[in-house]
Amino acid sequence: MISFVRGAVVFVFAMFLQWWWNAHFSYWGAAPQFLLVLTILIAARRGPILGMLAGFGWGLYLDVARAELFGSSALILTLAAYAVGVARRQIDLRAAGPLAATTFLSTWAAFLGLGLLGLVFTKSFEWSGWIAVLATPFLNVGAVVAASLLWDAREGR
């Protein structure tokens, strides 16, 4: 029960953090994607099932703010969680380096996936801009490393 409440708090707090950062600290579209980062982290630490469920919910939250392509972020985050869940069988994602590399690549993959979904469903590639595409992976890496350290610290490792 406690873990459920704690998970719900983290779920809501993550959405709030994403909104807050996007609304007040985003420059030219460059902002850390906390929801993606947390999806990856949860999938890496707790497995793909929990990661996919959380990612799908957070994806819906991101999609609500969009005028079109409702469901694209949910699909991307779900796939990201699944991919990380598959990768954690081969790679030790508890280590900071692999986790950072996974996050870096997942970020670009997410951009690519969103663009392709736009191309498929709206006939136009959704391009987020060079600044966002180039800067966001680094921001995400920083965010996932920070979140991983916090997680480890909390678990006493």
């Binding site: 909104w19 807050w20 497995g47 469920l53 819906l60 609500v64 979904l117």
Partner: protein, 351 residues
């Protein structure tokens, strides 16, 4: 592990299918309903978050404003206290100014050197007996100097100096039991002795037993007074005492013109000025107007006494009118500087 993988694959398939369904049917009613429901759940997060963020973001400014307001509040409180103090001071100064302004129109008696003093101390136990003023030998005060006080544009008798110290002096009030002064009633030639009773009233004794006395008469210092200049208002008759058949005189109660509780500035008539001070104006003989026949152009000047030609008499500032004063009762003014004629402006008295 296999089970987890299977579940993961199943969830992946389900969620992916759902996502694709949402992407494929964006305008369908279920999708729009889901989107609306999701928005209903998640939008308050942003809305409330924004409101909370603005509130939190505005906190430093509010705290700063609060601190500044507190500082300003303290400053304004201090200014307010200063303002209240200033207002009180200004009010006191205005009252004092008014008193002094009125006092300026008063004329000191000729031959006397007046000095203004402030009442410095009173003894509550002996309220009607004495008070201390802030001048003493340093300002030329000497024993038995008469002390007058302003009252409605008029100088009235207050008392006399009985103790002189370097910087202060004690004034024995007329209301003190030990005070006594020769006085006369304005309604006639009746003279008597005004005495204090250690209370708010004075008593005038030794009035002619056959005289008809009435309340309301003014009482003035007599020219026979050894202390006061003549014709200084002492008070008014408040009550005529019942005649005592065993006494050969009558007495009246007199309400003093000088209220002992309201005296703040007094004038002491010094016998002589201090070194370096201007000498008081020389004495001009002033005789009661009754001696002045028609000052006009009476050709029979020979029938008028020499003093009748003194225009100063007819233009003299108001002095209490004495009805048929006995010439013998008026001492020659040059006889004593203490008993020099005193001109007091009394607007109430007919001129």
């Amino acid at each position: 592990m296999q089970r987890e993988t299977r579940i993961a694959n199943f969830i992946l398939g389900a969620l992916s299918a759902l996502s694709l369904l949402l992407l494929s049917l964006p305008l369908s009613t279920p999708v729009r309903s889901l989107k609306a429901g999701t928005g209903y759940i998640f939008n308050p997060l942003a809305y409330r978050g924004e409101a909370g963020y603005r509130r939190i973001a505005g906190s430093p400014a509010r705290i700063k404003q609060l601190l500044l307001a507190d500082i300003e509040n303290e400053t304004l409180r201090a200014e307010l206290r200063r303002g209240e103090w200033l207002a009180t001071t200004v009010s006191a100064l205005a009252l004092e100014n008014e008193r002094l302004r009125r006092a300026l129109v008063l004329k000191a008696p000729a031959g006397r050197s007046p000095v203004w003093v402030r009442v410095m101390e009173r003894d509550p136990i002996h309220w009607f007996r004495s008070l201390v003023v802030d001048a003493g030998a340093d300002r030329g005060l000497s024993l038995n100097d008469p002390v007058l006080g302003p009252r409605d544009g008029l100088l009235v008798a207050v008392g006399r100096i009985v103790d002189v110290r370097p910087n202060t002096a004690t004034v024995l009030l007329l209301t003190d039991e030990l005070s006594a002064a020769a006085a006369y009633l304005s309604s006639g030639t009746l003279e008597g002795l005004i005495q204090g009773q250690d209370g708010p009233r004075l008593r005038m004794n030794y009035l002619n037993a056959e005289a008809r006395l009435s309340a309301g008469d003014s009482v003035y210092t007599s020219p026979t007074s050894a202390t006061f200049p003549p014709d200084v208002l002492i008070g008014r008759v408040a009550r005529v005492n019942q005649r005592d058949p065993f006494l050969t005189f009558q007495s009246v109660e007199v309400a003093p013109a000088a209220d002992a509780s309201s005296l703040q500035e007094l004038i002491v008539l010094r016998a002589r000025p201090m070194d370096g001070e201007a000498k008081p104006p020389s004495y001009t003989p002033v005789f009661p107007p009754v001696f002045v026949p028609a000052v006009s152009t009476a050709p029979a000047a020979s029938s008028a006494p020499a003093v009748s030609s003194a225009p100063a008499i007819s233009t003299a500032p108001a002095r209490p009118r004495r009805r048929a004063p006995a010439p013998a009762a008026v001492k020659p003014p040059q006889a004593s500087s203490e008993e020099a004629a005193f001109e007091a402006v009394d607007p109430e008295e007919p001129r």
